[in-house]
């Protein structure tokens, strides 16, 4: 530095950095000493850190980086805290396996534990289709109301979650509405008429010539599953056609489309993917969403 010509600011007598922007120069004022010391301490700290903590990329054959003498690993710490969490949950989790879903719901502690576990499991696994809080979507039943295709009791919900809907396992909920239009069981006119009739069941439209004609079609083709009055059958998963709840929609076009080519949608068998504790917690949570069996 000393061989350079110093640029001294005339007004303050302080040396400038020599940089100039449109005639403005920066003064080179000294740093406070404590500031400088902190800088040195940081450098020293870095060296200490290298010794104790993983820091430098390692030489070939030594792994990915220098391990440091503390052998610190964030990955190991996470695994440790997950284990700690598992063992903390083990007591209540074991109690969930022991108890029936009814007992879980009746016990204040177990219920709170199951609700909390069920809520997080629901968010991870179920909310994608059924919506947050089981609000439902077209084609995906609302779980927060009192309408249940396969039954809304605790055991029935647990069964449905465990074995799924229209899965290959023997216990799965299974039924299949025929494709009345696609398979040419009914003519287009018959489908239109029966759709009108179905809509009169829940008061969506007034009786008409078409619906009266449709009633005959209904009695021949639909009552086996949906019942004579159209109130459905939970053993077969046949929806109640007289209530205000429509899985796919209640407008004429949707009802016609459903009769022509039913969707027969499916749900995975969660018992194959989740442990028993989680399934039970989910059953309690889903039951509690509506609070009624319908």
């Amino acid at each position: 530095m000393s061989e350079h010509d110093k640029d001294i600011d005339a007004a303050t007598g302080v040396e400038t950095t020599g940089h100039e922007w449109d005639g403005i120069k920066e003064l080179n004022n000294p740093l406070p000493r404590w500031w400088l010391y902190i800088f040195y301490i940081c450098i020293a700290w870095a060296v200490v850190y290298w010794i104790f903590m993983p820091a430098w990329p390692a030489l070939p054959g030594m792994g990915t980086n220098t391990p440091g003498i503390r052998n610190h690993s964030d990955r190991a710490l996470v695994a440790e805290s997950i284990d700690a969490l598992r063992s903390a949950r083990a007591e209540n989790g074991a109690a969930l396996i022991e108890a029936s879903v009814e007992d879980i719901l009746a016990d204040q502690d177990l219920r709170q534990f199951a609700m909390a576990a069920g809520e997080s499991a629901f968010g991870d696994n179920c909310a994608t289709c059924h919506g947050a809080g089981g609000r439902g979507a077209p084609g995906y039943p609302t779980l927060a109301d009192d309408v249940w295709l396969w039954g809304g009791g605790l055991d029935e919900i647990q069964h449905t979650i465990t074995y799924g809907v229209r899965q290959e396992n023997m216990e799965s909920r299974f039924s299949m509405m025929p494709a009345f239009g696609r398979d040419q069981v009914l003519s287009a006119e018959e489908i239109t008429n029966v759709a009108h009739y179905v809509r009169t069941l829940s008061g969506l439209e007034e009786a008409s010539d078409a619906s009266i004609a449709g009633q005959e079609v209904f009695e021949w083709n639909c009552v086996a599953c949906h019942g004579e009055a159209g109130t459905g059958d939970q053993f077969q998963g046949a929806p109640n056609l007289t209530d205000r709840d429509w899985l796919y929609g209640s407008d004429m076009a949707t009802v016609q489309a459903t009769i022509y080519n039913p969707r027969n949608s499916a749900m995975p068998a969660w018992g194959e993917r989740l442990d028993e504790t989680t399934v039970k917690a989910l059953a309690v949570y889903v039951y509690a969403l509506s609070g009624s069996e319908g």
């Binding site: 007598g13 927060a144 009192d146 309408v147 609070g291």
Partner: protein
């Protein structure tokens, strides 16, 4: 403004600004005695408080003052939960208003006597004095070559400083854990890592702030001196050099006349006594912490030269101006608008907090409405809303709570898992119990703008907590 003159450049301009060492001389007098007494009191309180016990029953900590134990704050009989953190806010507000009040009355007494920076710096200077002697000896020792005498004195001083620093950090962690068991665990190596980390941090800060940085903390780091100017006024009692009486200053020989000159004999006693390294005779300044040690120093000299004491004294700017103009000084005005405002604010907030503390609830009801779905329509046409009910019991004993829902006719209320319609629940002590409440209301009884009042009633004491919460339904006009 005087024009800045260019100073000649020096060849070896340093990259950092060097601290001018301050070696305050020990003075004796009433302020020095008070400061030592206050230091003893402050240190005793700081080190002693965590060791005071307070019986709260078998399942609660028995430490009188305990912070963040399970998220709670304990102050003797008072137990503050995290959701009541506004009491802590209240204490902070009271503390700052208290500072404002004393500052507008007596200037920076906080800085001069009570601030931890002042207390610990004073303690560190006492240690320094013990090993290295008073001001002149210390200056001489600093200049002296590194002999054995200098080395052991310096080493001993820093060792004792570090010991005090470690003890300072050590005492702080006791406020956050049961002190006796933590003390045992600490020395047997079983204390939580955070305890060691915080002791280390506070050892470092105490050692550097009180040992090596000292007056620089007040001048450069602390915001308080900068706020000061807005809080003090010409009526406040500040440590003041009475220039009306002292000037013109100059050396005085025995038997010389005192006519036509000031009382200040320019002996520099006030400067050498100053722990901030300033000259009080330059008037009020940012660096001055108003520790009043210059008063003791000056009074001592005034007695020796046979003049009245109080050339430097607690005085107001206004009185100095008045006397300089040949008018009589005013009496200290205790009741000024700002003093009254601060006092009123402090009393009001204290009263408010006391009221809140004495009437605060032993339990709490928090109702959260389901947002998704905000409502469902049941097959019979009724509208259903779901609510998460949280009952917080702040007492150790269980409570029997009855829930009541009012606001809409014909509401069918049930708690999931309880008997239908049974809204009497028992909740365990010290914690939060959650329930799910389902409310069903006929469609024609609601219009989309409905509100419910949910009340939790302690069936034994009758204490209540109510929440108002909306009931969602399809909006109808």
């Amino acid at each position: 403004m005087t024009a800045l003159k260019p100073t000649p450049p020096s060849d070896a301009q340093p990259m950092y600004k060097k601290r001018e060492p301050v070696h305050p001389k020990l003075v004796s007098g009433k302020f020095r005695s008070f400061k030592f007494a206050f230091m003893a009191l402050a240190l005793a309180v700081y080190y002693g408080l965590p060791w005071i016990r307070w019986d709260r029953g078998p399942d609660a900590p028995d430490q009188a003052i305990l912070f963040f134990a399970d998220g709670k704050f304990y102050f003797g009989p008072i137990e503050i939960w995290p959701q009541e953190v506004y009491y802590i806010t209240g204490i902070l507000i009271l503390s700052s208003l208290g500072l404002f009040l004393v500052t507008s009355l007596f200037g920076r007494v906080w800085c001069g006597y009570a601030c931890p920076q002042t207390v610990w710096t004073d303690l560190y200077i006492a240690v320094e004095r013990f090993f290295e002697g008073d001001r002149n000896k210390r200056i001489k020792l600093d200049r002296a070559p590194w002999t054995f005498n200098k080395i052991w004195r310096k080493a001993a001083k820093h060792a004792v400083w570090l010991l005090i620093a470690a003890a300072t950090g050590g005492a702080l962690v006791f406020y956050f854990h049961d002190a006796p068991s933590l003390a045992y665990n600490f020395f047997t190596g079983h204390a939580p890592t955070t305890a060691y980390v915080f002791v280390a941090i506070l050892t470092f800060t105490t050692y550097s702030l009180a040992g090596t940085m000292r007056e620089q903390v007040c001048t450069y780091l602390c915001p308080w001196p900068r706020i000061q100017a807005a809080l003090t006024d010409e009526d406040a009692l500040n440590v003041t050099y009475r220039w009306d009486r002292g000037e013109p200053r100059g050396p005085h020989k025995k038997n010389d006349t005192w006519d036509g000159r000031g009382d200040c004999v320019d002996c520099n006693a006030c400067v050498t006594a100053c722990p901030m390294g300033i000259d009080i005779r330059n008037g009020a300044q940012l660096e001055c912490i108003h520790c009043a040690l210059c008063i003791d120093a000056c009074d001592d000299i005034m007695k020796k030269v046979g003049r009245p004491t109080g050339l430097i004294a607690y005085d107001s700017d206004k009185n100095v101006e008045l006397r300089a103009a040949g008018q009589p000084a005013q009496k200290f005005r205790l009741f000024r608008p700002r003093v009254i405002i601060y006092a009123v604010l402090i009393s009001a907030i204290t009263a408010l907090m006391a009221y809140g503390l004495f009437t605060r609830s032993t339990f709490e009801l928090n109702v959260l409405k389901d947002r998704s779905p905000s409502f469902v329509q049941l097959s019979d046409g009724r509208i259903q809303n779901g609510y998460a009910i949280k009952l917080v019991n702040k007492r150790i004993d269980p409570k029997n709570i009855r829930l009541e829902v009012t606001g809409i006719e014909g509401a069918d209320v049930s708690l999931v898992g309880e008997e239908h319609g049974d809204l009497d629940v028992e909740i365990p002590g010290e914690g939060v119990t959650r329930f799910r409440m389902i409310i069903k209301i006929p469609e024609d009884a609601v219009d989309g703008n409905d509100r419910l009042r949910i009340v939790a009633i302690d069936t034994e004491t009758g204490e209540q907590d109510a929440n108002f919460i909306p009931f969602s339904s399809p909006r109808r006009n």
